[in-house]
Protein backbone atom coordinates (compact mmCIF):
# COMPACT_ATOMS: atom_id res chain seq x y z
CA UNK A 1 0.00 0.00 0.00
CA UNK A 2 2.90 2.31 0.83
CA UNK A 3 4.58 2.17 -2.60
CA UNK A 4 1.68 3.45 -4.74
CA UNK A 5 1.04 6.30 -2.27
CA UNK A 6 4.72 7.26 -2.46
CA UNK A 7 4.67 7.00 -6.25
CA UNK A 8 1.55 9.15 -6.37
CA UNK A 9 3.19 11.84 -4.26
CA UNK A 10 6.28 11.78 -6.48
CA UNK A 11 4.14 12.17 -9.61
CA UNK A 12 2.19 15.01 -7.98
CA UNK A 13 5.39 16.83 -7.05
CA UNK A 14 6.87 16.24 -10.50
CA UNK A 15 3.68 17.73 -11.99
CA UNK A 16 4.13 20.84 -9.83
CA UNK A 17 7.78 21.19 -10.86
CA UNK A 18 6.95 20.81 -14.56
CA UNK A 19 4.17 23.37 -14.20
CA UNK A 20 6.57 25.79 -12.49
CA UNK A 21 9.15 25.30 -15.26
CA UNK A 22 6.54 25.82 -18.00
CA UNK A 23 5.30 28.99 -16.25
CA UNK A 24 8.87 30.33 -16.05
CA UNK A 25 9.46 29.49 -19.72
CA UNK A 26 6.23 31.23 -20.74
CA UNK A 27 7.02 34.36 -18.72
CA UNK A 28 10.58 34.37 -20.09
CA UNK A 29 9.36 34.18 -23.68
CA UNK A 30 6.96 37.04 -23.07
CA UNK A 31 9.79 39.15 -21.66
CA UNK A 32 8.02 39.55 -18.32
CA UNK A 33 9.80 42.52 -16.71
CA UNK A 34 9.66 41.51 -13.02
CA UNK A 35 11.08 38.06 -13.85
CA UNK A 36 13.98 39.61 -15.76
CA UNK A 37 14.66 41.98 -12.87
CA UNK A 38 14.53 39.06 -10.40
CA UNK A 39 17.00 37.10 -12.57
CA UNK A 40 19.32 40.08 -12.73
CA UNK A 41 19.07 40.62 -8.96
CA UNK A 42 19.87 36.95 -8.32
CA UNK A 43 22.91 37.14 -10.61
CA UNK A 44 24.07 40.31 -8.82
CA UNK A 45 23.73 38.49 -5.53
CA UNK A 46 25.82 35.57 -6.81
CA UNK A 47 28.40 37.76 -8.56
CA UNK A 48 30.79 38.29 -5.60
CA UNK A 49 30.88 34.56 -4.81
CA UNK A 50 31.41 33.82 -8.50
CA UNK A 51 34.23 36.34 -8.74
CA UNK A 52 35.85 34.78 -5.68
CA UNK A 53 35.55 31.31 -7.20
CA UNK A 54 37.03 32.60 -10.48
CA UNK A 55 40.04 33.99 -8.61
CA UNK A 56 40.67 30.53 -7.15
CA UNK A 57 39.93 28.42 -10.23
CA UNK A 58 41.35 30.53 -13.07
CA UNK A 59 45.07 29.95 -12.21
CA UNK A 60 44.39 26.20 -12.13
CA UNK A 61 42.55 26.40 -15.44
CA UNK A 62 45.31 28.53 -16.98
CA UNK A 63 47.97 26.07 -15.80
CA UNK A 64 46.06 23.11 -17.25
CA UNK A 65 45.55 24.90 -20.56
CA UNK A 66 49.21 25.94 -20.61
CA UNK A 67 50.26 22.29 -20.35
CA UNK A 68 47.76 21.02 -22.91
CA UNK A 69 48.11 23.88 -25.43
CA UNK A 70 51.88 24.52 -25.09
CA UNK A 71 52.66 23.86 -28.77
CA UNK A 72 49.80 26.06 -29.98
CA UNK A 73 50.84 28.88 -27.66
CA UNK A 74 54.39 28.77 -29.02
CA UNK A 75 53.15 29.00 -32.62
CA UNK A 76 50.76 31.77 -31.70
CA UNK A 77 53.54 33.71 -30.01
CA UNK A 78 55.69 33.55 -33.14
CA UNK A 79 52.75 34.64 -35.29
CA UNK A 80 51.98 37.56 -32.99
CA UNK A 81 55.61 38.74 -33.10
CA UNK A 82 55.48 38.80 -36.90
CA UNK A 83 52.19 40.69 -36.85
CA UNK A 84 53.59 43.22 -34.38
CA UNK A 85 56.50 43.97 -36.69
CA UNK A 86 54.12 44.52 -39.58
CA UNK A 87 51.80 46.69 -37.48
CA UNK A 88 54.74 48.91 -36.40
CA UNK A 89 55.48 49.57 -40.04
CA UNK A 90 51.90 50.50 -40.81
CA UNK A 91 51.39 52.62 -37.70
CA UNK A 92 52.98 55.79 -39.02
CA UNK A 93 51.06 55.77 -42.30
CA UNK A 94 47.84 54.99 -40.45
CA UNK A 95 48.36 57.82 -38.00
CA UNK A 96 48.81 60.37 -40.79
CA UNK A 97 45.69 59.12 -42.58
CA UNK A 98 43.65 59.23 -39.36
CA UNK A 99 44.65 62.80 -38.68
CA UNK A 100 43.69 63.80 -42.21
CA UNK A 101 40.34 61.99 -41.89
CA UNK A 102 39.61 63.67 -38.55
CA UNK A 103 40.29 67.11 -40.07
CA UNK A 104 37.98 66.34 -43.01
CA UNK A 105 35.22 65.07 -40.71
CA UNK A 106 35.52 68.16 -38.57
CA UNK A 107 35.14 70.35 -41.63
CA UNK A 108 32.08 68.39 -42.79
CA UNK A 109 30.64 68.35 -39.24
CA UNK A 110 30.39 64.53 -39.24
CA UNK A 111 30.28 62.62 -35.89
CA UNK A 112 33.64 61.18 -34.92
CA UNK A 113 34.26 57.89 -33.19
CA UNK A 114 36.72 59.63 -30.90
CA UNK A 115 33.90 61.76 -29.49
CA UNK A 116 32.09 58.74 -28.05
CA UNK A 117 32.69 58.06 -24.34
CA UNK A 118 34.09 54.61 -23.59
CA UNK A 119 34.63 52.18 -20.75
CA UNK A 120 37.40 49.58 -20.73
CA UNK A 121 36.37 46.19 -19.34
CA UNK A 122 38.13 42.89 -18.70
CA UNK A 123 36.78 39.72 -20.28
CA UNK A 124 35.88 37.73 -17.18
CA UNK A 125 34.57 34.51 -18.69
CA UNK A 126 33.69 32.72 -21.88
CA UNK A 127 30.42 30.92 -22.51
CA UNK A 128 29.23 28.48 -19.84
CA UNK A 129 28.03 25.04 -20.87
CA UNK A 130 27.91 23.59 -24.36
CA UNK A 131 25.00 25.43 -25.91
CA UNK A 132 26.18 29.00 -25.60
CA UNK A 133 28.50 30.14 -28.34
CA UNK A 134 29.69 33.53 -29.47
CA UNK A 135 29.24 35.27 -26.12
CA UNK A 136 31.69 36.48 -23.49
CA UNK A 137 31.17 38.03 -20.10
CA UNK A 138 32.85 41.30 -19.05
CA UNK A 139 33.46 42.68 -15.56
CA UNK A 140 31.58 45.99 -15.97
CA UNK A 141 27.84 46.59 -15.78
CA UNK A 142 25.14 49.19 -15.30
CA UNK A 143 27.04 50.88 -12.46
CA UNK A 144 29.69 51.87 -15.05
CA UNK A 145 27.04 53.33 -17.36
CA UNK A 146 26.64 50.29 -19.60
CA UNK A 147 23.29 49.60 -21.27
CA UNK A 148 21.98 46.82 -23.50
CA UNK A 149 22.78 47.29 -27.19
CA UNK A 150 25.99 49.29 -26.70
CA UNK A 151 28.80 48.40 -29.14
CA UNK A 152 31.92 46.64 -27.91
CA UNK A 153 35.28 46.80 -29.65
CA UNK A 154 39.03 46.38 -29.26
CA UNK A 155 41.66 48.70 -30.71
CA UNK A 156 41.57 46.47 -33.80
CA UNK A 157 37.83 46.57 -34.48
CA UNK A 158 34.26 45.67 -33.63
CA UNK A 159 33.75 42.75 -31.25
CA UNK A 160 29.99 42.73 -30.64
CA UNK A 161 27.28 44.36 -28.58
CA UNK A 162 25.94 44.11 -25.04
CA UNK A 163 22.94 41.80 -24.75
CA UNK A 164 22.65 41.49 -20.98
CA UNK A 165 23.68 44.06 -18.41
CA UNK A 166 23.67 43.39 -14.66
CA UNK A 167 25.03 45.74 -12.01
CA UNK A 168 28.64 44.60 -12.15
CA UNK A 169 28.81 42.24 -15.12
CA UNK A 170 27.56 42.16 -18.70
CA UNK A 171 27.29 39.67 -21.54
CA UNK A 172 28.64 40.56 -24.98
CA UNK A 173 27.18 38.91 -28.07
CA UNK A 174 30.04 38.54 -30.55
CA UNK A 175 29.80 39.65 -34.18
CA UNK A 176 29.98 36.00 -35.22
CA UNK A 177 26.68 35.11 -33.48
CA UNK A 178 24.03 34.09 -35.99
CA UNK A 179 21.51 36.61 -34.67
CA UNK A 180 23.98 39.50 -34.73
CA UNK A 181 23.35 42.17 -37.38
CA UNK A 182 25.07 45.45 -38.21
CA UNK A 183 24.87 47.92 -41.11
CA UNK A 184 28.25 48.17 -42.82
CA UNK A 185 29.88 50.08 -45.64
CA UNK A 186 32.49 48.45 -47.80
CA UNK A 187 35.43 50.06 -49.58
CA UNK A 188 35.97 53.43 -51.20
CA UNK A 189 32.90 53.13 -53.42
CA UNK A 190 30.88 52.87 -50.19
CA UNK A 191 28.69 49.85 -50.90
CA UNK A 192 26.16 49.57 -48.06
CA UNK A 193 25.25 46.12 -46.77
CA UNK A 194 23.86 44.24 -43.80
CA UNK A 195 26.44 42.18 -41.97
CA UNK A 196 25.25 39.12 -40.06
CA UNK A 197 27.17 36.60 -38.00
CA UNK A 198 27.74 33.22 -39.61
CA UNK A 199 28.92 31.32 -36.55
CA UNK A 200 32.61 31.77 -37.31
CA UNK A 201 32.83 35.08 -39.22
CA UNK A 202 30.69 37.93 -40.52
CA UNK A 203 28.84 37.88 -43.84
CA UNK A 204 27.61 40.95 -45.67
CA UNK A 205 24.66 40.43 -47.97
CA UNK A 206 21.57 42.60 -48.39
CA UNK A 207 22.23 45.86 -50.18
CA UNK A 208 25.03 44.66 -52.44
CA UNK A 209 24.49 44.48 -56.18
CA UNK A 210 26.18 42.16 -58.69
CA UNK A 211 27.61 45.22 -60.46
CA UNK A 212 29.27 46.53 -57.32
CA UNK A 213 29.82 43.73 -54.84
CA UNK A 214 33.02 45.33 -53.47
CA UNK A 215 36.48 43.84 -53.90
CA UNK A 216 38.62 41.48 -51.90
CA UNK A 217 40.73 43.17 -49.17
CA UNK A 218 38.58 46.31 -49.07
CA UNK A 219 37.95 47.67 -45.56
CA UNK A 220 34.58 47.11 -43.89
CA UNK A 221 33.34 49.68 -41.37
CA UNK A 222 30.08 50.23 -39.49
CA UNK A 223 27.72 52.51 -41.33
CA UNK A 224 25.92 54.05 -38.35
CA UNK A 225 22.82 55.99 -39.29
CA UNK A 226 19.55 56.82 -37.57
CA UNK A 227 18.47 54.18 -35.06
CA UNK A 228 21.64 52.11 -35.37
CA UNK A 229 23.25 50.88 -32.17
CA UNK A 230 26.65 51.38 -33.79
CA UNK A 231 28.32 54.72 -34.51
CA UNK A 232 29.70 55.17 -38.02
CA UNK A 233 33.30 54.32 -38.74
CA UNK A 234 34.00 51.47 -36.33
CA UNK A 235 36.41 49.13 -38.17
CA UNK A 236 34.95 45.65 -38.64
CA UNK A 237 37.38 43.86 -40.95
CA UNK A 238 38.35 43.31 -44.56
CA UNK A 239 36.62 41.53 -47.40
CA UNK A 240 38.15 38.05 -47.54
CA UNK A 241 36.05 36.48 -50.30
CA UNK A 242 33.05 37.21 -52.50
CA UNK A 243 30.51 34.65 -53.65
CA UNK A 244 28.77 35.94 -56.79
CA UNK A 245 26.93 32.72 -57.61
CA UNK A 246 23.62 33.85 -56.10
CA UNK A 247 21.41 36.80 -57.12
CA UNK A 248 22.77 38.87 -54.24
CA UNK A 249 26.55 38.62 -53.77
CA UNK A 250 27.68 37.30 -50.41
CA UNK A 251 30.79 38.92 -48.96
CA UNK A 252 32.81 37.15 -46.26
CA UNK A 253 34.51 39.52 -43.86
CA UNK A 254 37.76 38.62 -42.08
CA UNK A 255 37.41 40.31 -38.71
CA UNK A 256 40.13 42.71 -37.54
CA UNK A 257 39.56 41.93 -33.84
CA UNK A 258 40.85 38.58 -32.61
CA UNK A 259 37.63 37.51 -30.93
CA UNK A 260 39.01 34.10 -29.97
CA UNK A 261 41.55 35.66 -27.61
CA UNK A 262 39.91 38.63 -25.94
CA UNK A 263 41.39 39.95 -22.69
CA UNK A 264 40.22 43.55 -22.55
CA UNK A 265 37.51 45.26 -24.58
CA UNK A 266 36.17 48.79 -24.92
CA UNK A 267 32.47 49.49 -24.57
CA UNK A 268 31.32 52.57 -26.47
CA UNK A 269 28.75 54.41 -24.36
CA UNK A 270 26.82 55.13 -27.51
CA UNK A 271 23.10 55.56 -27.59
CA UNK A 272 21.54 56.10 -31.03
CA UNK A 273 18.77 58.35 -29.73
CA UNK A 274 21.28 60.71 -28.11
CA UNK A 275 23.78 60.76 -30.95
CA UNK A 276 21.43 61.11 -33.90
Amino acid sequence: VALPRRGGRARYRLGLLVLTAVTLLTLDFRGFGPLERAQSAARDLLAPVRSGAETVTSPIGDALRGVVDYGDLKDENAKLRAELEEARGQQLAGQAASEELARLKEQLDLPQLGDVERVVARVAAGPAGNFEENVVEIDKGSTSGLREGMPVMTNAGLVGKLVRVDRGRSVVELVTATDFAVGVRIGDEVALARGTGSGTSLRATEGLSRDNPAAVDEPVLTNGGAGSNFPPGVPVGRVSSIDKSSAVPVVDVALEADIQNLDYVTVLLYSPSEEN
Binding site: A10, L17, A21, A42, R50, A125, G129, V163
Partner: protein, 172 residues
Protein backbone atom coordinates in the same frame (compact mmCIF):
# COMPACT_ATOMS: atom_id res chain seq x y z
CA UNK B 1 14.40 14.49 12.87
CA UNK B 2 13.87 18.14 11.98
CA UNK B 3 17.52 18.88 12.70
CA UNK B 4 18.57 15.97 10.53
CA UNK B 5 16.35 17.18 7.71
CA UNK B 6 17.81 20.69 7.95
CA UNK B 7 21.34 19.25 7.93
CA UNK B 8 20.56 17.18 4.82
CA UNK B 9 19.14 20.24 3.09
CA UNK B 10 22.20 22.31 4.01
CA UNK B 11 24.52 19.60 2.64
CA UNK B 12 22.46 19.35 -0.57
CA UNK B 13 22.50 23.14 -0.98
CA UNK B 14 26.28 23.10 -0.60
CA UNK B 15 26.73 20.36 -3.22
CA UNK B 16 24.37 22.15 -5.64
CA UNK B 17 26.16 25.46 -5.15
CA UNK B 18 29.68 24.06 -5.51
CA UNK B 19 28.67 22.20 -8.68
CA UNK B 20 27.16 25.43 -10.05
CA UNK B 21 30.30 27.45 -9.23
CA UNK B 22 32.55 24.86 -10.86
CA UNK B 23 30.36 24.86 -13.97
CA UNK B 24 30.36 28.66 -14.43
CA UNK B 25 34.00 29.27 -13.46
CA UNK B 26 36.45 26.37 -13.77
CA UNK B 27 34.70 24.52 -16.61
CA UNK B 28 34.32 27.70 -18.65
CA UNK B 29 38.10 27.61 -19.19
CA UNK B 30 38.72 23.88 -18.97
CA UNK B 31 36.99 21.78 -21.61
CA UNK B 32 38.08 18.16 -21.40
CA UNK B 33 37.72 16.56 -24.87
CA UNK B 34 36.52 19.95 -26.16
CA UNK B 35 33.28 20.09 -24.18
CA UNK B 36 32.25 21.23 -20.72
CA UNK B 37 30.69 18.66 -18.40
CA UNK B 38 27.04 19.27 -17.61
CA UNK B 39 27.25 19.17 -13.84
CA UNK B 40 23.60 20.08 -13.22
CA UNK B 41 22.63 17.05 -15.26
CA UNK B 42 25.10 14.80 -13.48
CA UNK B 43 23.83 16.08 -10.15
CA UNK B 44 20.24 15.35 -11.26
CA UNK B 45 21.16 11.76 -12.15
CA UNK B 46 22.75 11.13 -8.75
CA UNK B 47 20.05 13.05 -6.85
CA UNK B 48 17.42 10.80 -8.42
CA UNK B 49 19.48 7.73 -7.62
CA UNK B 50 20.37 8.65 -4.03
CA UNK B 51 17.32 10.70 -3.02
CA UNK B 52 14.61 8.92 -4.98
CA UNK B 53 12.27 10.22 -7.67
CA UNK B 54 10.40 12.55 -5.32
CA UNK B 55 13.18 14.34 -3.45
CA UNK B 56 15.70 13.99 -6.27
CA UNK B 57 13.45 15.83 -8.73
CA UNK B 58 13.20 18.84 -6.39
CA UNK B 59 16.99 19.05 -5.87
CA UNK B 60 17.57 18.63 -9.61
CA UNK B 61 15.01 21.33 -10.42
CA UNK B 62 16.80 23.82 -8.16
CA UNK B 63 20.22 22.89 -9.56
CA UNK B 64 18.89 23.37 -13.11
CA UNK B 65 17.25 26.67 -12.22
CA UNK B 66 20.48 28.02 -10.75
CA UNK B 67 22.28 27.06 -13.96
CA UNK B 68 19.49 28.65 -16.02
CA UNK B 69 20.17 31.99 -14.32
CA UNK B 70 23.59 32.23 -15.95
CA UNK B 71 22.64 31.11 -19.43
CA UNK B 72 20.87 32.85 -22.27
CA UNK B 73 18.71 29.84 -23.09
CA UNK B 74 15.09 30.23 -21.86
CA UNK B 75 14.75 30.36 -18.07
CA UNK B 76 13.42 27.06 -16.77
CA UNK B 77 14.73 24.84 -19.57
CA UNK B 78 17.57 23.23 -17.61
CA UNK B 79 15.33 23.09 -14.53
CA UNK B 80 12.72 21.16 -16.53
CA UNK B 81 15.30 18.82 -18.11
CA UNK B 82 17.06 18.12 -14.81
CA UNK B 83 13.90 17.38 -12.83
CA UNK B 84 12.65 15.00 -15.55
CA UNK B 85 16.02 13.20 -15.64
CA UNK B 86 16.13 12.93 -11.82
CA UNK B 87 12.58 11.60 -11.72
CA UNK B 88 13.35 8.99 -14.39
CA UNK B 89 16.55 7.91 -12.59
CA UNK B 90 14.69 7.75 -9.29
CA UNK B 91 11.92 5.62 -10.75
CA UNK B 92 14.43 3.25 -12.37
CA UNK B 93 16.36 2.91 -9.12
CA UNK B 94 13.27 2.42 -6.94
CA UNK B 95 11.39 0.04 -9.22
CA UNK B 96 13.96 -1.82 -11.28
CA UNK B 97 17.54 -1.89 -10.19
CA UNK B 98 19.97 0.10 -8.07
CA UNK B 99 23.23 0.16 -10.04
CA UNK B 100 26.55 0.15 -8.20
CA UNK B 101 30.23 0.43 -9.16
CA UNK B 102 31.09 0.62 -12.84
CA UNK B 103 27.47 -0.06 -13.86
CA UNK B 104 26.37 3.08 -11.98
CA UNK B 105 29.13 5.10 -13.65
CA UNK B 106 28.26 3.83 -17.14
CA UNK B 107 24.56 4.50 -16.47
CA UNK B 108 25.44 8.08 -15.46
CA UNK B 109 27.29 8.58 -18.75
CA UNK B 110 24.40 7.16 -20.79
CA UNK B 111 21.83 9.20 -18.86
CA UNK B 112 23.94 12.32 -19.50
CA UNK B 113 23.82 11.66 -23.25
CA UNK B 114 20.04 11.28 -22.99
CA UNK B 115 19.73 14.42 -20.85
CA UNK B 116 21.74 16.56 -23.29
CA UNK B 117 19.65 15.34 -26.23
CA UNK B 118 16.44 15.94 -24.23
CA UNK B 119 17.57 19.49 -23.43
CA UNK B 120 18.35 20.20 -27.10
CA UNK B 121 15.02 18.74 -28.27
CA UNK B 122 13.07 20.78 -25.69
CA UNK B 123 15.00 23.92 -26.68
CA UNK B 124 14.33 23.28 -30.38
CA UNK B 125 10.62 22.76 -29.63
CA UNK B 126 10.66 26.16 -27.92
CA UNK B 127 12.12 27.75 -31.04
CA UNK B 128 15.83 27.99 -30.15
CA UNK B 129 17.95 28.00 -33.32
CA UNK B 130 20.74 25.56 -34.10
CA UNK B 131 20.05 23.11 -31.26
CA UNK B 132 19.49 20.02 -33.41
CA UNK B 133 22.39 20.49 -35.83
CA UNK B 134 25.06 17.92 -36.61
CA UNK B 135 27.12 18.97 -33.60
CA UNK B 136 24.50 17.78 -31.09
CA UNK B 137 25.45 14.11 -31.28
CA UNK B 138 29.16 14.92 -30.84
CA UNK B 139 28.44 17.18 -27.86
CA UNK B 140 26.04 14.67 -26.27
CA UNK B 141 28.48 11.76 -26.61
CA UNK B 142 31.47 13.73 -25.31
CA UNK B 143 29.45 15.14 -22.39
CA UNK B 144 28.51 11.51 -21.68
CA UNK B 145 32.21 10.56 -21.54
CA UNK B 146 33.19 13.56 -19.37
CA UNK B 147 30.24 13.06 -17.01
CA UNK B 148 31.12 9.35 -16.88
CA UNK B 149 34.58 10.34 -15.61
CA UNK B 150 33.17 12.76 -13.03
CA UNK B 151 30.34 10.47 -11.94
CA UNK B 152 32.16 8.76 -9.01
CA UNK B 153 32.97 12.17 -7.47
CA UNK B 154 29.40 13.44 -7.85
CA UNK B 155 28.05 10.15 -6.53
CA UNK B 156 30.22 10.46 -3.44
CA UNK B 157 29.11 14.08 -2.90
CA UNK B 158 25.41 13.17 -3.16
CA UNK B 159 25.78 10.13 -0.89
CA UNK B 160 27.45 12.42 1.67
CA UNK B 161 24.62 14.94 1.32
CA UNK B 162 21.84 12.36 1.74
CA UNK B 163 23.48 10.22 4.43
CA UNK B 164 21.88 10.25 7.91
CA UNK B 165 24.22 11.71 10.54
CA UNK B 166 25.87 9.49 13.20
CA UNK B 167 23.34 10.53 15.89
CA UNK B 168 20.43 9.74 13.59
CA UNK B 169 21.90 6.35 12.64
CA UNK B 170 22.33 5.52 16.35
CA UNK B 171 18.72 6.54 17.08
CA UNK B 172 17.44 4.36 14.23
Amino acid sequence: VLGERAATRARLALVVFVAFLLQVTFFVDVHPLGVAPELALLLAIHAGREGGADRGAVVAFLAGLLYDLELRTPLGLWALTCCLVAYAMGQLTENLHRPTGIVATVTSGLASVGGVVAFAVLAALLGEDGMLDGDLLRIALLVGVVNFALSPLMGRALRWAYRPSGAMRAAV
